[in-house]
């Protein structure tokens, strides 16, 4: 049950990042979680509610994108997605593949903020952009 520690770490990181946008409210936090990250989604959602209670993040949605395991097969010379986490074999040739290329991720991909219109647009950072129109972008990503 380390999901509570994980949720607390997310709250800390997001609060830190959101501080650069005074007056903004965090609407959504999007995670990338690998299949080998040992995180139980339901448990994390439950802990997220507990960890955000009575904080400025209260009510923010946690969206978890699961990433499958990807291994590199030396024999085929390609990266291949494997089905599940019970056998680390190349799906093409069936050989064991020890070289893990994806599956351990445990990261915050992005946060969605709601800002009052009168505020300045925040620090100039090439990694950020105002979503326009917001609804479209949201519906696209939530499918």
């Amino acid at each position: 049950m380390h999901e509570l520690s994980i949720a607390a770490s997310i709250v800390e990181a997001v609060t830190e990042s959101a501080a650069a946008y005074p007056g903004a409210r965090v609407k959504e936090v999007r995670l990338r979680v690998g299949a080998l990250a040992s995180v139980v989604e339901d448990s994390l959602q439950f802990c997220w509610e507990l960890a955000t209670e009575d904080t400025p993040l209260s009510g923010a949605r946690l969206v978890i994108r699961k990433l499958p395991v990807v291994v590199h097969c030396d024999a085929c010379g390609v990266d291949a997605e494997i089905d599940g986490v019970q056998s680390f074999r190349c799906p093409r040739c069936g050989e064991l593949a020890a070289d893990l290329r994806q599956g351990r991720e445990l990261e915050i991909e992005s946060i969605e903020l709601e800002e009052p219109d009168s505020e300045s647009s925040g620090p100039a950072d090439p990694k950020t952009h105002a979503a326009d129109p917001p609804e479209e972008r949201i519906s696209e990503e939530r499918i």
Binding site: H2, I10, V85, S87, E109, E114, D117
Partner: protein, 223 residues
Amino acid sequence: MTTRIVELRRGILKKNDELAAGLRGRFTSAGVLVLNLVSSPGTGKTAFLERTLRELRARGARVAALVGDLETDNDARRLAASGAPVRQINTHGICHLDAEMITRNLDGWEGVSLAGLNYLFIENVGNLVCPSSYDLGERIRVALLSVTEGEDKPLKYPGLFNSADAAVITKMDIAVPCGFDRELALKNLNEIRPGMRVFETSAKTGAGMEAWLAYLAEQVQAS
């Protein structure tokens, strides 16, 4: 209202990872080989470690251990019987050790300096899930499983077994009465972590300890 997406691409455990990187640097410059031992409760981590500490000390190596448990210092007392410096870390309900706990306990450890050690063993809290996410700065992560636990343990806990560098099977002295299927256990370990080194041991009889100690010596040479 305007909606803004801020891309963070930030590891959730970034703080732990940064602390662990700092620890790894300290361990490397002190020339100490650090191992993180992880298993379920009851696998026999403490008995295995106790035997390892004794055997290494008998060979003239300077060893120490940090041992994590929710409560009690029973394990530290057992390990201290080996004569090695041992420090208990009580996590009081937290199901894993993290890099901050290691940093804090190393800094306040009187009479032990990293530079004076050849090996530092960290016995994690008995748990096969949570410790897999927390880097402690170790060079080698060892996953242990006992013959009483079932050969499919690696399949049930792939996150941990896949993250380990070596595996130790404990309690081999009772493998036969337990009906332990050795071939199947080795096959399962290899499916989850292809090419992983596996040691079949008994802390009671000493079986398999030579191969394990030879591996440790190899790893020290390689560092």
